[in-house]
């Protein structure tokens, strides 16, 4: 049996799945000031009288790091960055204790200026004096040559608890994001470590001694052990959990939209043949941009509890939430009240809901029923408009080859999967309004926990082979090997598969679930100098796609 647990902002959802289906589901209120208690209470309630030995897998998704990031509650971190030519690294400052140092590596990974050992030792002393325990080291182009980061770590190693290196974060190029991501990993490390050690201990006391899996923002899992090096990857795993929960109901060989209607926001994501779309580089939310692999989601500030207002005869919905719907004792009318008035939802106090909608109806000069219907339609329109904008944006993404320009994939979803409390009502309305097949995902109120329970391990490996310099590297994996002039693209792909498999197994993947490998990028270039060929550059990126573990999909139907 499997347990999936997702700590959300309001509720902590837990499911117990067996090969027969959902054995048990539990919802407990989340206590934001004590997430540990919420997790523990979730486990206690779901286990009930079940024998802990029957549990073969546990996956946890929490808002722990997301909260720390949002509330800026992170410990002081020493950051050492070396930039070389380009934009002044002071713009990427992560706070106090940020040092830009000498040393430079170019785009081919060649050293252009050395590390100054004395400069680093001096900074080390100052950081130590300031009581810093964790340090992040990032150099520009370290994914092409990490030697400066490694050297700096070696100089500082004995004086600090843990040193985080930029090239381990991702194989992607983006120096500012590498700095932000390395900083995040270092900054949430202590919090993440103490939290999960406590969880592990408590679960062990309950007799649950199997390895714990943790959900990442890309909808995949990693083992507790590997999460210690990249705790930042757990940021925004919540929305990912829900989207993964929709996958069992997604059509094969087709594109689909996932809409998760919450209290204040609606999350929007896309599936292509049951696999969710990923951000090209990593999580971004407003100004915050990282290299953390993530599902491509966006949210619109509209949900069941959005505040309704009328300004100059125009209805506005959200983006704020003043409290629950009036039907549930809230202060202002909301879309949920409209659903109650329309007699779609038979929960809450219909009198209170009608009173709220009545004030809106008066301002709009409509009957209560017409006003409620108007509100409902407008919600659907706003959500769908945002969704179509996202599709347009996705389809107008720049491409860099003639081939991709002419034959690039165009996203054209034919189906919507809806999650969240009011999913059922919205699904019917949207299908009627837009003539697009729309289904409410069954067990939608715990789809997030189901998504967490069934998510498989994901990972990505980036490789570069340079036959002129005679080396193939995947610095993210601390991998470098000499190659001959005859090294081919097949050799590279073979190396990539080997590395990916190793990485996946180290992250706790079940060997049964290693088939969904996909070459995400492949490029090949002739290196020519003075009109004669000098070698070839091959670049490849392969990934284990986000998706569900085998053997459980059908149980949900």
């Amino acid at each position: 049996m499997i347990i999936g647990l997702d700590v959300g902002g309001t509720y902590t959802d837990v499911v117990l799945l067996s090969s027969k289906g959902i054995e048990n589901k539990v919802k407990v209120l989340t206590d934001p000031s004590n997430l540990f208690a919420s997790v523990l209470s979730g486990f206690t309630q779901i286990l009930g009288t079940t024998d802990p030995c029957a549990i073969k897998r546990v996956v946890i998704s929490t808002t722990l790091t997301t909260n720390a990031l949002v509330q800026q509650e992170m410990g002081p971190i020493g950051m050492i960055v070396s930039a070389g030519p380009g934009i002044d690294p002071k713009f990427f400052c992560t706070g106090e204790h940020y040092y830009a140092v000498s040393g430079s590596i170019n785009h081919r990974g060649r050293e252009k200026a050395p590390v100054n050992k004395m400069e680093i030792e001096d900074i080390g002393k100052r950081l130590k004096k300031a009581g810093i325990k964790y340090v992040g080291v990032v150099s520009k182009f370290s994914v092409r040559n990490p030697s400066h980061e490694i050297l700096i770590k070696r100089i500082l190693n004995k004086d600090f608890k843990k040193i985080f290196l930029g090239h381990h974060v991702s194989g992607n190029l983006n120096f500012p994001r590498r700095i932000a991501t390395t900083h995040l990993n270092a900054a949430v490390f202590d919090l993440h470590k103490s939290f999960f050690e406590a969880v592990k201990k408590s679960l062990a006391e309950k007799g649950l001694t199997i390895p714990i899996q943790i959900l990442k923002a890309d909808g995949g899992t990693m083992s507790l052990e590997s999460s210690m090096d990249f705790p930042g990857q757990t940021v925004l795993s919540g929305p990912a959990a829900s989207i993964m929960g929709a996958i069992p109901y997604a059509p094969a060989n087709q594109d689909a939209i996932v809409l998760d209607i919450g209290g204040t926001t609606t999350d929007i994501a896309f599936l292509v043949d049951k696999a969710p779309l990923l951000e090209p580089l990593g999580i971004q939310r407003g100004q915050y941009k990282s290299l953390i692999r993530s599902l491509r989601t966006d949210s619109k500030g509209i949900g069941g509890d959005s505040a309704l207002r009328v300004n100059q005869g125009e209805l506005s919905i959200g983006p704020d939430r003043q409290g629950p719907a009036m039907a549930f004792g809230g202060p202002v009318p909301t879309p949920t009240d409209a659903l109650v008035v329309l007699e779609l939802m038979d929960k809450g106090d219909p009198e209170k809901a009608r009173a709220g909608i009545h004030t809106i109806a008066g301002q709009l000069d409509l009957s209560d029923i017409d006003a409620a219907d108007h509100i409902f339609k407008k919600c659907c329109n706003i959500i769908l408009k945002k969704t179509f904008e996202m599709i347009d944006e996705l389809n107008s993404q720049p491409v860099y080859t003639v081939h991709d320009f002419l034959e690039g994939y165009k996203l054209s979803p034919r189906q919507i999967l809806m999650l969240g409390g009011p999913a059922k009502f919205f699904a019917e309305k949207i299908e009627a309004l837009y003539q697009i097949k729309t289904i409410a995902v069954p067990e939608s109120e715990v789809a997030n926990a189901i998504g967490a329970a069934l998510a498989r391990t994901t990972c990505e490996v980036s490789l570069i082979a340079d036959t002129e310099q005679g080396i193939v590297t995947a610095h993210e994996e601390d991998f470098a090997e000499p190659i001959s002039k005859t090294y081919s693209e097949d050799d590279l792909i073979e190396t990539a598969y080997t590395l990916l498999k190793e990485k996946a197994l180290n992250s706790g993947a079940n060997p049964e679930n290693l088939e969904e490998v996909e070459v995400v990028e492949f490029q090949k270039f002739n290196i020519v100098r003075n009109f004669s060929p000098r070698g070839k550059i091959y670049r490849a990126k392969i990934q284990l796609k986000p998706g569900l573990i085998k053997g459980f999909e059908t149980i949900l139907h």
């Binding site: 030519p85 992607n172 080859t401 320009f405 270039f525 020519v528 550059i537």
Partner: protein
């Protein structure tokens, strides 16, 4: 926080799957390291910098500028259409005021392509800037446009296309044609009889450094632009003046290119040549992007940059000053020069030979134009390519006066079909293209 002072649009189309041939300078690898640098710097994350997908130019877009012989598909590949489409996408973004300025980092280049195109010359098949300029004029009704070509090679294609156009000021700065392909672009090449002085060619001696280059910009290009008052400034941003370029002999730097851009303030920049793909392009392109966005570019310095080693000699400085004075004098005399070039109604004939080095074609042209004081004047070009076709192209300029419009139709109707493989009419006022 890093934020672009000017909203800047970028099209990046490195055509990673297109080359003239595998070891040709114009090959897949050319913008690879530039892309690496731009991505590593996080350029597309900077608020105010917007990446656009290239458009695709249509045959009709090309027909405003070129007589492609025998037709557009024979002269172009998809890559050319996307490259020119990149410039068009930036033009749309700038003209619709989505951004203040924009830079199309595209390949293959285009500035050696002339009005008649029988094939490839100087790595170019169709002229991206010219196609974009004609698109802007038709679509947005812009009248006066300046094109400043800072590629190290004479922009002879663009020069040819706007040779008779008094409303397009074309200024090319390049390494002296006696030492460099295509061997043209001398100060005396000032444009056709109706447009003398609206084409300015500024040859620079080999070894010109940042100092000399910026001297010309400050003392010649900027004052002339101030007088011409263009509605739009386009920069053909070739990057082969760089001190490490394998095909040229100049001593310009990334800092120099960035300064040049911040002085010139182009509305639209379009990448042309530049073949020091590892040591120069990543830094030069980064410098230009930052300068266009109004961001600090002082840290964009090549790792091996040594300004002392690149200093230009006193004799070079003197030569540049002399050329600058001469160009300024021509500019001041442009109205008299037009008066002197002939009387209204007089027919002027020009003979020209063009060699297409990329495709090995030789072309002979005979061009006829009447002197007109009211517009650029309609003209016809009789062009015979070996190997290739014999064609006649008639061009009626976009701002043609009524008499010249009629003259253009007269050329076209009178043309003898038995003499030519094809006869083309480029009617810019009506935005039409006819073939007989």
């Amino acid at each position: 926080m890093l934020k672009a002072l000017n909203k800047t649009g970028l099209v990046f189309f490195p055509a990673f799957d297109w080359a003239i041939d595998p070891t040709h300078p114009e090959r897949e690898e050319r913008l690879l390291y530039t892309q690496d640098q731009v991505l590593e710097e996080g350029i597309f994350d900077i608020p105010g910098i917007i990446e656009y997908k290239p458009d695709l130019v249509t045959a009709h877009d090309i027909q405003r500028t070129h007589f492609c012989v025998p037709d557009e598909p024979s002269v172009t590949t998809e890559s050319h259409l996307i490259s020119a489409g990149g410039a068009k996408a930036i033009a749309n973004a700038v003209m619709n005021k989505e951004v203040k300025n924009g830079f199309a980092l595209v390949r293959p280049p285009g500035h050696h392509s002339m009005r008649v195109s029988h094939g490839g010359r100087g790595f170019c098949h169709i002229n991206m800037e010219a196609i974009m300029v004609e698109y802007i004029r038709t679509q947005f009704g812009v009248k006066k446009i300046a094109i400043i070509d800072t590629d190290c090679h004479h922009g002879d294609g663009t020069n040819d296309i706007f040779w008779h156009d008094p409303d397009v000021l074309f200024i090319s700065l390049h390494q002296d044609g006696r030492t460099m392909y295509p061997g043209t672009g001398f100060p005396g090449e000032l444009g056709g009889p109706n447009a003398k002085g609206s084409n300015l060619n500024i040859p620079l001696p080999p070894g010109t450094s940042t100092e000399g280059y910026l001297y010309v910009i400050r003392n010649c290009v900027m004052p002339i632009l101030a007088e011409f008052k263009p509605d739009i400034v386009v920069n053909s941003a070739g990057q082969d003046n760089h001190y490490t370029d394998p095909l040229t002999n100049m001593n310009f730097s990334a800092q120099g290119y960035a300064k040049l851009t911040s002085l010139l303030k182009p509305d639209i920049a379009v990448l042309e040549g530049g073949y020091a793909i590892e040591g120069a392009l990543p830094y030069v392109n980064l410098g230009i992007i930052l300068a266009m966005a109004g961001l600090d570019y002082s840290g964009v310095v090549e790792p091996d940059y040594n300004p002392e080693k690149l200093k230009q000699s006193v004799s070079i400085t003197d030569k540049i000053k002399k050329t600058t004075d001469q160009i300024n004098a021509y500019w001041q005399q442009r109205h008299e020069l037009r008066e002197k070039s002939g009387k209204p109604g007089e027919l002027i004939i020009r003979h020209k030979e063009v060699f297409y080095d990329t495709d090995n074609i030789f072309e002979r042209q005979k061009e006829k134009i009447w002197i007109c004081r009211d517009c650029g004047g309609s003209f016809e070009i009789d062009s015979k390519a070996t190997p290739g076709n014999h064609i006649l192209g008639v061009h009626i300029p976009i701002n043609a006066c009524k008499a010249c419009q009629e003259k253009g139709y007269d050329f076209f109707e009178r043309a003898d079909k038995t003499k030519y493989d094809r006869i083309y009419l480029q009617d810019r006022p009506k935005d039409q293209y006819e073939i007989k």
